[in-house]
Amino acid sequence: MNWDTLYILRQEILLTVLILIQLIGDLSEDEKRKSIIHVTLFSFLLFTLLGFLPGEPASLFGGMYVSDDLRTLLKNILSISTLIILLQSSSWLQKPDNQTKIGAFYLSLFSTLMGMYFMIAAGNFLMLYLGLELATLPLTLLAAFDKQLRRSAEAGVKLLMSSAVSSAVLLFGLSMIYGVYGTFYFTELSVLSDSSYLSVLALIFFIAGLAFKLSLVPFHLWTADVYEGAPLSVTSYFSVVSKGAALFTLMLVLYRVFATQNATWSLALNILAITTMVVGNLFALRQKNMKRFLAFSSITQAGFMMLGFMNGGSLGMTTLVYFMLIYAVSNLAIFGVLAIVSNTTSKENMDDFNGFYKTNPGLSLIMLVSLFSLAGIPPVAGFFGKFFLFTAAASSGLYILVFIAVLNATLSLYYYLLVVKAMFINTNDTPIPTLHTTLYEKAAFALCLMGVAVIGFMSSLYNYIQSLM
């Protein structure tokens, strides 16, 4: 233990401090609770900024914890996303009903974030599993946080039950990996190579565990229910941060640890990509509830992400990270709008958005741009992300897969346009009234929009990510 270690662990430590602050804050009187929100937001901002400090690659705790520029970047993407979610959730937490939740909410959220950090920073399957559970278990509680709602309770228990089984399956896979290789350390695993049936089976079980978090079809069934039932901020956390962490982890493990088994996992993910895109799309196009709708949309997007795995080199990895970043900002912008609407009017259905543009042009435009970004329409960032994903898949000659994917992208455009249609074309006798956005929400939108508008044109960002691979 020395200062270097502390510097490397600065984010985790600050996160622990933040958790402790919540414990103390929860003791304060109700009237002062609100100030906790501001304190937390500013310390979280500090925390996010700290992540951008330069650092040297390091391996701590005998290889349990690994830190390098790539992992720092991945963590930063997660913390920026979380920051945006926190900004967006501030007005939800400020509602009188929710003031008791503040402490527990932040605490659970930060611990899941820390879990994701450990997933990414893991140098050992033990840490990875631990991080995964740390990221999952408090989330199940968060899903049940709307205590007055039946659906929230249902979401919590559904998530817990299915994720418990999925983590059991993952563990079963890990135990086989242990049996075959005799170690959990990534550094040791990456040099061992074994293509026996058992290792394939183990790998599939492991992938299934993470695919569950990524909600790839057929491991996705929890997604829509939980998204619908959970409080909106938690849903957006699910769809962006939690999914991002799972994606990054899967990416790091497959590319860095099981690089030799490339053929196996790319085939598996190829199959999963197709089923995910198709099924996600088919479900999405008939959803009326915006949260469910976005659930299936994010399932489809996860299917697209799998295309990035088809390239075993740095192109694939870069593209994955890049796409995740774009997906995060686009999705968060949409969730931001939904959050504002839902907080004030409790409306969550697509029909409620009829005529939205008339009353809330700004928010509608944000939605529009972000939906286009999700659909992959230029010149917003989503186009670039998707294009590079397709390129990654095509680089392995999988043109049929690319074709299926692009057709699915077209189909997905259909339902994104349904939302656009609702907002811009349909009329409504009782439209959502003109809504007020707080400073925090504005800041969140600013971050998202900047991302959506600029990322695509900034090739330097892409190059930077690539330089880390």
Partner: protein, 636 residues
Amino acid sequence: MDYSFTLLIVLLPLAGFALLGLFHDRLKPMVAGTLGTLNLLIITLLSYYTAFSYFTQGNGESGYTAIKAFNVLWLSFTDSLQIQLGILLDPLSVMMLVVITTVSLMVHIYSLGYMKGEKGFQRYYAFLSLFTFSMLGLVVATNIFQMYIFWELVGVSSYLLIGFYYERPSAVAASKKAFIVTRFADLGFLLGILLLSFYTHTFDFTTLTSMDGVAISNPPTAIFLGMSVTTWAMLLIFMGGAGKSAMFPLHIWLPDAMEGPTPVSALIHAATMVVAGVYLVARLFPVYALSSPDSLEVIAYVGSFTSLFAAIIACTQLDIKRVLAFSTLSQIGYMMVALGVSGYGGEEGLGYMAALFHLFTHAFFKALLFLGAGSVIHAVHSNLMTDMGGLRKFMPITHITFLIACLTIAGIPPLSGFFSKDEILVAAFEHNKIIFAVQWLVAGITAFYMFRLYFNIFWNRTPHFHHTPHESPALMTFPLLFLAIASVLAGFVPFHELVTSDGKAFHTALHWMIAIPSVLIAFVGIGVAALFYLKPNILPEKMTHSMKGMYSLVYHKFYIDELYLFITHQLIFNFISRPVAWFDRQIVDGTMNFIGEATVYGSNVINKMQSGHIQWYIWFFTSGVLLLAFLLLYLN
């Protein structure tokens, strides 16, 4: 001599059209009419001057030479295939210049009176200018594509003029019919051009018709469906000509075209445009005669049949303009016959000369007939013979000029029609006896139906008129007189020295053996007409009654129109267009919609997957894992 001024002949009418067209609502009607007429007067004088200078420069040993007064590249397809716009002066085109400008000028003058007070008077003059421009551009074309361009323009001006009374549905329908039928023919023309130019690598008339050009010295001999491609090409080109010249079976538009103002009928549908087909064949005559005599044969038969066919129909029509229209068909049939039976060069080319001679004379007397009919219609406000009769007392000038025209067309010497028709019959006699016999018969029928017309208008019973008819104003009678004089004198133009197939003069003489029978049969025709129609009597009715079925068949123009209607409306509209539209909406678009609906259906089918039951979710998860593992382990 420098003929570049001839450019003005073409450009002035265009300028007139642009001026009248753009400012039609700013100009007073009479100002517009006068401007147009003066403009045309200048053009007419210019073309007379051209003709005078061209023909007086003499034809040396080699005959009249073609002069390209002007030629500019307009559009280039390939290095050899280029559209040039230019002016070609040779006997043929110069003769046509004279005919067109003369008739056009007369029509312009006549219309000042005839169309006075009509709504859209300015527009009328604009269209007339457009037509004159197009027609002049057509005849001076230096290459076949330029001709095609103006050919189309002529078609559209004809369309505009037929549909001049655009509020009258029948006029609209007639104009549409005229355009579409000729367009269909032009399709053949265009294909012919493409085919011909593909093998000869040129559009240029001079190159095409020169004796050492590819088209004649080395015509393509490739065979397609049993005919050489040259014949194909020339027949297709003739198809264009047949459309414009209303040869059977493409004649159906012409009678309907009488819906246009009568002066227009005189100009376009009697004197100028309808003979464009004759002009076209004449223009390419060396190619026809030397490379593809088979196609000439076809032309002869088509012409002959048309002339007989139209003449028979003309005997039954009651609308005086329609009688004249069928008479025009018949006369153009004569011209086609003449071309068809002609050979190339010297005496052999008699038919060629005769055809153009007849074109020349026909232009005058047929224009005269139409203008006279217009004058009558102007007076009685009706087109039908049944509303007329005894008009000789009211309209002396019209009566006299009309009589002259009827005599001319009947081929009574020494009027011009006699000479030109005689040459045709001679040529036909020398070539093909059957055709000769038909044409001889047609001459008689012609005399009959013309005098049927004449007697019914000016003699016969005098019906009750709402207003007492009176002679037309001087603006209208002047052209009648002028054209009457021209009809009388035109026969004395020494055509065999001026316009011949190879440009060289040859000698020709009156063939009494043929002239006498033809004059006789004309008199017979006149006599029968007089018997039937000079005085009101029941003979015609008896006659029609005794041949009722036959009469009605002929009266209905052999039901050709109905056949066309059936083909277009029933077959094409109902059996092609409608199914296509249906197919497109139901099958093609239906497929696209089906894809969408199938997707939605698929979405509904897998709906149950999201059943809401945790255990089902978990089961799905685990079986998914196992299945995936199974796939990868044992099926890979």
